[in-house]
Symmetry: C2
Subunit: 146 residues, 2 copies
DNA sequence: CATGTTGTAACTACAATGGTTACAAGAGGA
DNA sequence: TCCTCTTGTAACCATTGTAGTTACAACATG
């Protein structure tokens, strides 16, 4: 099972808000860029609000960033999107037989190793900031200009 | 969504085969240690067979390792268990709007970063061998002896 | 030949995902 | 004031993966 696309959708949304500061970023408009349903966008934005990354103008609508793009790492977004329950990437099979020497100890042995693997992945995400994404996007956009 | 416990079940099974070389390791017996259904065990063993890590005695039954525990890394087992389709950990949302500058470029930008994160995780798994698991288990078993 | 095991199919229950419709509530403009 | 637009949320749906279960033909060995 892959990590839910909620994460990359969240990154997409935040990058959009950063690059289109002056647009009226409604869920409908954002959904047009992501190519999904406005409600899906609102759900993700709800999580980004909870994380304190964005706000939404009441009534008239439109989301905007409330943090500097340097202050948001991909790991922050990953956590905000809640794509892995409890933050634990690996699922260790539960209730192995405690009367079997292997069953009694396998969990403890695996736990430390798999946590290390998870942290290695998260450390890469921690090193990337929204600012880096936006910069890379701006470069590509510039390069593709006719 | 977490990574399927098929992976840790596979590690459990292989460790069991390594530590209990002389036992008659039927799917029923293994299932007793993992605490699951024999058919679940047979399915995982089927994948481990495909990967060339084990064989099963025809007729009489019982699985056994066909590789040295030093030759099997956790990454090998992870791949054999096929816990993430296509080997790609992150799912990038498909078909963003190519007419939007962000939509047209976000996939390319994310792809390289997320692949890097995935590889960091896999590199940790690659460093651990079944032998290390078995050694750690043996130590814990010894320590817990009354 | 009887026994025990495997491999596989088929079915189930359950959960997460992503999409969709619907609608009350709120803010601002005409 | 009323109309319009947007949001937040609930509810529902189809799809998919997971993990467990039953059932059974095929097969080797004692």
């Amino acid at each position: 099972m892959k990590i839910s696309s909620r994460f990359t959708v969240a990154v997409h949304i935040l990058a959009l808000l950063a690059l289109e500061k002056n647009a009226h970023c409604t869920s409908e408009w954002i959904a047009g860029s992501v190519n999904t349903n406005p409600v899906v966008v609102r759900r993700v934005i709800g999580q980004l609000k909870k994380a304190g990354f964005v706000q939404v103008r009441p009534g008239t609508g439109g989301a905007f960033l409330t943090k500097d793009t340097q202050e948001i790492t991909l790991l922050d977004i990953y956590r905000a999107a809640e794509v892995v329950e409890g933050g634990e990437l690996f699922q260790i099979h539960e209730h192995p037989n405690p009367k079997c020497p292997v069953g009694a100890n396998i969990q403890a042995v695996l736990e430390v190793i798999l946590l290390r693997a998870q942290e290695a992945m998260e450390n890469v995400l921690r090193e990337i900031r929204l600012h880096d994404i936006v910069t890379a996007l701006a470069q590509k956009i510039e390069a593709n200009r006719p």
